[in-house]
């Protein structure tokens, strides 16, 4: 009995010492960045910042956003830092007071267009919605070059669903906000363009030859190309949709200083170079983009009315659903 309590006491002591020494602070990161990249990031950060532990929670964009809303409703978001592809949600998070403002010194070089003026969030990687093609079906010189060209492939073309994919929600906001209303989607419905759940389903189908062309994220095609799939992509002449995938600190975080350090690292030259290795276009002009890719300022983009998209999120999704699913 006595012995047991002594051991217990020793254990408790040991535990308190060990937590005191090894984990001075902890950053919990909620992210939709691919797992390998996210853990790489965390490891590199921890190497540079001894004493700070980064824990990564990685899931699909929509799942993380749902989790954040659910947690907010149930007493507080647990994450310290969030880094998601669903840029419009950050406007909603900001409106609901979930974010902690921070103007990182590393953010100075980041273009003003992709960071919040009050510093609530900062774009940390550029992912772009482009036209993916299967090179077995589409030869050089005959690629589709506009979004309307994509529709010519009928059911041999595909896109992901804005109800599931944050990036495709951004596309819908850009297309609709461009004042052509919903006409592109109405044409797509008539053409029989397939709607799949996520972008990974789309890129898989493209690689497998189920589709000849598709609307897809650039870095996914880059990744597939590396593993030998017969795929490539085209920058649409009427503009790609670029998603800045912002990073932000959650209000009420108990580790604000460590979180700030993590945000700094994400936007730093070193952090952005990590992204480049995985085919992602950096947000800093002083970091060279992946081989064969343009710098962020050279991309022709369709402007995205993010604030409007955040305010009308439900209507946009409902309208898409009515046009494409019913």
């Amino acid at each position: 009995m006595k012995k047991a309590s002594l051991i217990g006491l020793a254990l408790a002591l040991l535990l308190s010492i060990s937590t005191g020494v090894f984990a001075e602070s902890k950053v919990l990161l909620y992210t939709s960045v691919p797992l390998e990249l996210a853990t790489n990031f965390a490891d590199e950060f921890m190497k540079a910042n001894r004493g700070t532990k980064v824990e990564v929670f990685r899931a699909g964009s929509t799942d993380v956003v749902n989790k954040i809303w659910a947690e907010a409703e149930a007493g507080g978001v647990r994450a310290d830092v969030i880094w998601l592809a669903d840029a419009a949600s950050y406007y909603a998070f900001k409106d609901k007071g979930l974010l902690h403002p921070y103007k990182s010194p590393e953010a100075e070089l980041v273009p003003a267009a992709i960071k919040d003026a009050d510093g609530y969030f900062t774009g940390a990687r550029m992912i772009n919605m482009v036209i993916g093609i299967n090179t077995n079906f589409i030869k050089k010189g005959s690629e589709p070059t506009t979004w309307d060209d994509l529709l010519k492939f009928g059911p041999r073309a595909a896109m992901a669903d804005p109800l599931y994919s944050g990036s495709n929600f951004t596309v819908a906001a850009a297309f609709v906000g461009k004042d052509n209303g919903w006409s592109w989607y109405e044409k797509a419905r008539k053409a029989g363009t397939q709607v799949l759940r996520g972008n990974s389903d789309v890129s898989r189908g493209l690689a497998a030859g189920e589709f000849a062309a598709c609307m897809v994220l650039d870095y996914m095609i880059y990744d597939l190309q590396k593993s030998g799939a017969p795929v490539d992509f085209v920058w649409p002449t009427d503009g790609a949709v670029s998603i800045p995938s912002p990073v932000a600190i959650i209000k009420g975080s108990k580790n604000v200083e460590a979180s700030k350090a993590f945000v700094d690292f994400t936007l730093s030259k070193k952090g952005q170079e990590l992204l480049v290795k995985d085919g992602v276009i950096p947000v800093r002009p002083d970091v060279a983009p992946p081989k064969g890719m343009p710098t962020a300022d050279k991309i022709k983009m369709i402007p995205v009315p993010f604030q409007w998209a955040a305010d009308n999120a439900s209507t946009i999704r409902e309208t898409f659903e009515k046009i494409m699913h019913q």
Partner: protein, 559 residues
């Protein structure tokens, strides 16, 4: 006062204590979280409202989805009840060879996550699937005559996934029935077929109904399969509509649809209870340890064997092979050539600390969930089926309700209930366990009910007359009799829990990953090959575990 009533009274006291404990447990674990969802479905910014329910029926798409859910689930259930019952009879009660192997092959699909299975089916029968390509190259046709992305595809794959539920339950029941009744029928001149229809079938009817019910509710609340296979065909069911409502986000509408789904699943539950009421006369005194007699097929033995093998190949082996192939591919859909094969995915996952952690977590969760739900389920069943204590039927009903609630809603209920003080489980592994307990309680209650219904009360009465107390009767008489059924139920919970996804994906936190979550994340990020490799590992663990248990129990316990 004679000693007999004294015994009865004492035993009743013990039972009520147990009942109170189970009642409190259900109140905290099931009723409280789910009622929060219920409240949400009646709420709007302004307070109480019925408008969420009105909204469901004001949209044609919802009504269509409702109808789709019903007919798809009915059809799938019919298929898997027919196939499950026939195959269970063939394997338990006939002399076809290699039974235990066949049994294992047939149960294989149950061990992999449905969405991975659906992927495997898509890779076989999709527009550019292996089988489709083979067909096109043989016939020279431009398209294969089938399309897995369709309502028919949803029905077929759902049936394949729910079939093990029927098979496990019915073969468990067949293993327990008293063969002397069949012998009596045979001696009275009934032929083997007549005996089967008039004697055997009525004896296993409770098990068939119970499993049909589980299968139906399993189909109607499944999300992964209609999401993957129905989505492209614009074929929506209630669960996929709920997901849409959650993403819009329209939480009150989503909760209202979830409640509607629960009501639809509740109808067959109520019907089953009605049917059960008049059927107590079919219980059997199966006290002695019976080795069921096998029926001989004579010359038909080999043809029947081949038929069963074909079914097993189609339902289990071929999709799994397709999954195994995928796990070695450099990218999904790569042509099947040696140059496109790699073992790097396995190397990658075996070096990922998250995978080891997830394996440990999943095994812990699955074992705990299976053990706790079976213990509670056995108690509830005993109280309601055997002791017929007032209120026990209500507990039975409460425990069965969660199965009708879509997993996503169970997860949301957990978040609503367990992330605020005084009890904060959210953010730890315990909230996932709480969700599993809610979700799998019906499995255990339904299977233990079916098991107990087969054991006649006279054996217990005999024990009590001989002076045994309630606890002793339970330990020495009831438990040994229902053990095969309990084991079957345990497996029925353990296997899906080991690879559970829908709830874990909303509830997991860093450090509390489950296998399902890791697999899903890989799949979601586009690494289908890695997801397939992980699923293969989960399956290997199940097979290895099965081999060990089998060895230890000398062949008595296995899947």
């Amino acid at each position: 006062m004679n000693p007999d009533t004294a015994i009865t009274r004492r035993s009743i006291d013990v039972r009520y204590v147990f009942m109170a404990i189970v009642g409190l447990f259900f109140l905290a674990v099931i009723v409280y979280p789910l009622s929060l969802v219920m409240i949400k479905s009646f709420s709007s910014e302004a307070g109480f409202t019925l408008e969420n329910y009105a909204k469901i029926f004001s949209q044609d798409a919802n009504i269509r989805a409702l109808w789709n859910s019903v007919w798809v689930s009915c059809l799938s259930t019919l298929i898997c009840v027919a196939a499950g019952t026939i195959l269970a009879m063939l394997i338990v009660r006939t002399d076809i060879p290699y039974k235990s192997w066949l049994r294992m092959l047939l149960l294989l699909p149950y061990g992999i996550p449905p969405f991975i299975g659906a992927m495997a089916w898509a890779q076989l029968f999709g527009p550019v699937g292996y089988a489709s390509k083979l067909y096109m190259s043989i016939t020279g046709a431009m398209f294969a005559p089938w399309n897995i992305y369709s309502a028919a595809g949803v029905v077929l794959v759902l049936a394949v996934y729910q079939f093990p539920v029927v098979f496990i339950t019915v073969s468990g029941a067949l293993g327990r029935i008293d063969t002397s009744l069949e012998e009596a029928a045979r001696m009275s001149g009934a032929g083997p077929f007549r005996t089967l229809i008039d004697v055997t079938l009525p004896l296993i009817t409770p098990a068939i109904t119970a499993s049909a019910l589980l299968a139906f509710v399993g189909c109607i609340s499944n999300f992964g399969i209609p999401a993957l296979l129905g989505f492209r065909a614009r074929f929506f069911v209630l669960t996929t509509r709920i997901y849409s409502a959650l993403s819009i986000p329209d939480m009150p509408l989503a909760t209202a649809m979830a409640i509607l789904l629960a009501i639809i699943s509740g109808i067959p539950l109520i019907l089953e209870r009605r049917l059960e009421r008049g059927k107590s006369k079919y219980t059997v005194i199966a006290g002695k340890s019976v080795r069921p007699q096998t029926m001989s097929f004579g010359g038909w033995r080999i043809p029947v064997f081949i038929l069963v093998v074909l079914v097993a190949l189609f339902a289990g082996v071929v999709p799994l092979l397709s999954m195994l192939l995928t796990s070695f591919l450099k990218y999904w859909g790569a042509p099947l050539e040696l140059a496109n094969m790699t073992s790097s995915h396995y190397k990658y996952i075996l070096n990922l600390p998250m995978v080891t952690r997830a394996f440990r977590n999943s095994v812990f969760l699955a074992v705990s969930a299976a053990t706790i739900t079976m213990a509670v389920g056995a108690l509830v069943s005993y109280m309601s089926v055997r002791a017929k204590i007032k209120g026990a039927r209500t507990l039975d009903f409460i425990g069965t309700i969660p199965y009708a609630v879509p997993c996503t809603m169970v997860a949301i209920a957990m978040i609503l209930a367990w992330s605020r003080p005084p009890v904060v489980l959210y953010g730890t592994i315990w909230v996932i366990l709480a969700a599993y307990l809610v979700r799998y309680m019906p499995f255990s209650i339904r299977t233990t009910n079916a098991t107990l219904q087969q054991v006649h009360v006279s054996l217990e009465e005999a024990a009590r007359v001989s002076g045994a107390g309630w606890t002793q009767t339970m330990r020495d008489i009831v438990m040994p009799l229902i053990r095969p059924g309990l084991v079957a139920g345990w497996i029925l919970v353990f296997m899906p829990a080991l690879r559970e996804l829908t709830m874990s994906v909303l509830l997991w936190s860093q450090g509390a990953e489950t296998m399902g979550v890791v697999i899903y994340n890989m799949q979601d990020a586009g690494y289908t090959q890695i997801a397939a490799a992980l699923s293969t590992l989960v399956l290997l663990v199940i097979l290895a575990g099965n081999a060990v248990v089998r060895k230890l129990s000398k062949g008595e316990i296995s899947i």
